[in-house]
């Protein structure tokens, strides 16, 4: 009967040999509904870890230390940490720092080759410098070793684009995940850059979430122009601080959607491409939008200000991380909590689907750790299928990186119950999402310069000239390190 066939299909899926889409298609063919499918999967996935043919107690008594960023992911990990301690007999200590200073602490610890911390939180971009510098370990050595990794870990359950995004060969211009890549970190939670909008405001204005960038600009302008007599203050929230963080969310997602690239790669030699004609046109549209309908103090905007404003009802919509909207929507201390809708956004009128640039909070292992094997035990538990499910369903481990969590009915119910449009946003965006930047060691320098140029354009500099200047500056920087 179809049930047993389905079981074997799930097995194949869990082993990572079938994509989620194929599994769903198969399930449909066998007439199995979504909820039933999840149940089946749950039965198979949540086999008691301790009963496995794997020595979880091997490092019993060992204490490892983590360096962590203050984040909901960290909170959900801590909430489940006792399970890990019971399972392994290990002890876990952790240092938590505010995001504002977190990466300073990481850089200080790693650059001094300190063995204080065994594992830490990071983003893929950071590993573009940490990895080649020899600061973090190649996780392939652990993932592929069946003596070190438990049989139900199922690495391939992690969304493929994300696995790729966390790996890189170290050669400037090589695509993350291509052959020869090292796994510098592993995905733990991630964000897609989409539109979060205040449904109350949009209803009042008689609008639907924007179909493309031009419509977004018009809508944002409407909100800004009509701010005087209404609750809101302006139309569109995006980040604008003088930092790489301004480039990677909405801006880069839109840039990529227009088919634009940051660099032209000529056999490992990189040439800045921000001043191509198409890129200049795009910048003009973007700058027009933020200058006329963004926050007045845009150049100070980070994640927090963008979220703060939509949370307090100052902005009508944001083009930023989906989970930014999700978190601020969920926190009842924010005035507009519960009023947000989510929308997968395709800025380019001639593109068929969204192409969000992706940010992945990841776990990496310090290369200076003296307890790497023990640290790996924690890592494989932390983003293993069971803990990912607990994090996604019971806590705020959103977005989960595992297909199995997205396919779970409990997770689906939770998200649909709180966040209208979120699932649709995810489903329309995930396939086009990846890191749209060219992997190269000067990522932070070049994107910071890019953000500075955007600030100049927003305060009135000529777009064409500023971009030409930016491109030649970046070319010079690349030349200095022998990449141009």
């Amino acid at each position: 009967m179809s049930h047993s066939k389905m079981k074997s299909a799930i097995d194949t899926f869990l082993k990572g040999k079938m994509s989620r889409r194929d599994l769903l298609i198969k399930a449909g063919r066998y007439g199995i509904g979504f909820a039933a499918l999840t149940k089946l999967m749950g039965m198979q996935v949540t086999s008691a870890l301790a009963a496995q043919d794997f020595d979880w107690k091997k490092h019993s008594g060992t204490t490892i230390k983590l360096l962590m960023n203050k984040h909901p992911y960290m909170d959900s990990m801590i909430a489940e940490l006792d399970n890990f301690k019971a399972l392994t007999g290990m002890n876990v200590e952790y240092d938590i720092f505010a995001e504002d200073v977190y990466f300073d602490k990481v850089t200080a610890a790693l650059s001094s080759k300190s063995s204080e911390y065994d594992a830490f939180m990071t983003g893929a971009y950071m590993t573009w410098t940490y990895g080649p510098a020899g600061w973090c370990a190649d996780l392939n050595d652990f993932i592929q070793d069946s003596n070190k990794t438990n049989p139900s870990y199922n690495w391939n359950d992690v969304v493929g684009n994300l696995r790729d995004a966390c790996s890189w060969s170290g050669v400037a211009g090589d695509v993350p995940g291509a052959a020869g890549s090292k796994q510098w970190c592993m995905p733990w939670g991630f964000e897609l850059n989409s539109v979060t909008y205040n449904m109350r405001y949009f209803e009042k204005a008689g609008m639907k979430p924007p179909g493309d960038l031009v419509e977004m600009t018009d809508q944002a302008e409407y909100f800004t122009k009509n701010a005087g007599s209404n609750e809101w203050s302006y139309g569109i929230g995006t980040r604008g601080s003088r930092s790489w963080a301004t480039i990677h969310p909405g801006f880069m997602s839109a840039y990529a959607n227009y088919g634009l690239v940051d660099f032209e790669n000529n056999g490992g030699k990189l040439k800045a491409a921000m001043n191509s004609q198409a890129s200049k046109d795009f910048h003009k549209q973007w700058v027009k939008m933020i200058a006329s309908s963004g926050p007045a103090n845009w150049s100070g905007y980070t994640w927090y200000e963008v979220g703060n404003d939509i949370g307090a009802g100052a902005s009508a919509m944001i083009f930023d991380a989906d989970i930014l909207g999700y978190f601020f929507n969920g926190n009842p201390d924010n005035k507009e909590a519960g009023n947000f809708g989510f929308h997968g956004f395709t800025p380019n009128p001639s593109a068929s689907a969204p192409t969000p640039n992706v940010w992945i909070w990841s776990l990496a292992m310090s290369n200076f750790s003296k307890k790497k094997d023990a640290a790996w035990y924690w890592m494989q538990w932390c983003n293993g299928p069971e803990n990912a499910m607990a994090g996604g369903v019971k806590h705020n481990q959103v977005n989960p990186v595992r297909e199995s969590v997205w396919a779970s009915g409990d997770f689906d119910d939770k998200i649909r119950g709180t966040s209208p449009g979120y699932m649709e946003q995810y489903n329309s965006s995930i396939d086009g999402s990846k890191i749209h930047f060219t992997a190269q060691p000067l990522f932070f320098e070049t994107t910071t310069e890019w953000a500075a140029a955007l600030q100049e354009m927003q305060t009135g500099s000529n777009v064409d000239e500023t971009l030409d200047k930016l491109a030649s500056k970046i070319d010079r920087m690349m030349k200095d390190v022998g990449l141009a």
Partner: protein, 284 residues
Amino acid sequence: MSINVWSILKFFAYVAIIMFFLFPIAWIFNMSFMTNDEILRKVPVLFYEPTFKNYIGLWEGEIAIEGFATMYVYFKQNLINSAILSVGSVSVTLLLGVPAAYAFARYKFKGGEDIAFTLLSFRFAPALLIILPLNLYFSEIGLYDSYFALIWVYQLITLPLLLWIVRGYFEDISPDIEYAYRLDGHSWFQSFWKISIPLAKPGIAAASLLCFIYAWNNFVFALILGSSQIQPVTVGALAFITASAIPYGLIACGIVVSVLPTLILALFIQKYLVQGLSLGAIKG
């Protein structure tokens, strides 16, 4: 007539100074009793029902955000850390700095000026330049994450400050007074303790207060050289900011609480700052 204009000008000067320097303080105090919803309004709310939620949350260390998450803050521990670090640093600075300042002021020994200048130069060693090597060094000798190491490093900020301020005061005291006292059969130490220190008290008081403030407000040394267990309030308060809100009320509350110890110290020290005036006559 001219007196009148003068006092009117003075009145406006007072008003302007109070408005500029103290209005933000008053507003911070005000915000510490508000919810974020009340703070983040297009038109500021002037009348609201004060809440002690922020203070209670800081004290209990656990703030439940209904139906969403529980936020943990370690502010009490941060306060204790700040107190240990600041009191420790200022004590060490006073112990070393006051006698040193006296020596530099009173005795012109060979190389004295060079040593004084070198100590001053510590103060302007860019923190960024020394912090990473220090991190390496402290990790190696097992001093990473210890109060002792931080109090040691804090001397870079507090010692030169105290030394150079207090030195000026000692130099203003006429040596004749000390000689006269010593001719009465008192020892060198007695004259230092009974005459020189009391006369330099306003300087010592002002310098200690400043040292305490600088130690209290330091940020980067503890951040890089310590684990989260020994972080001071400055680093701790930043951790109130979460992915789901900037809790301004809580931050304002943290500022109010973290300023209190210094404020109390300043009130206590005020007495000594004033004392100088009455003793001024025997100086010069």
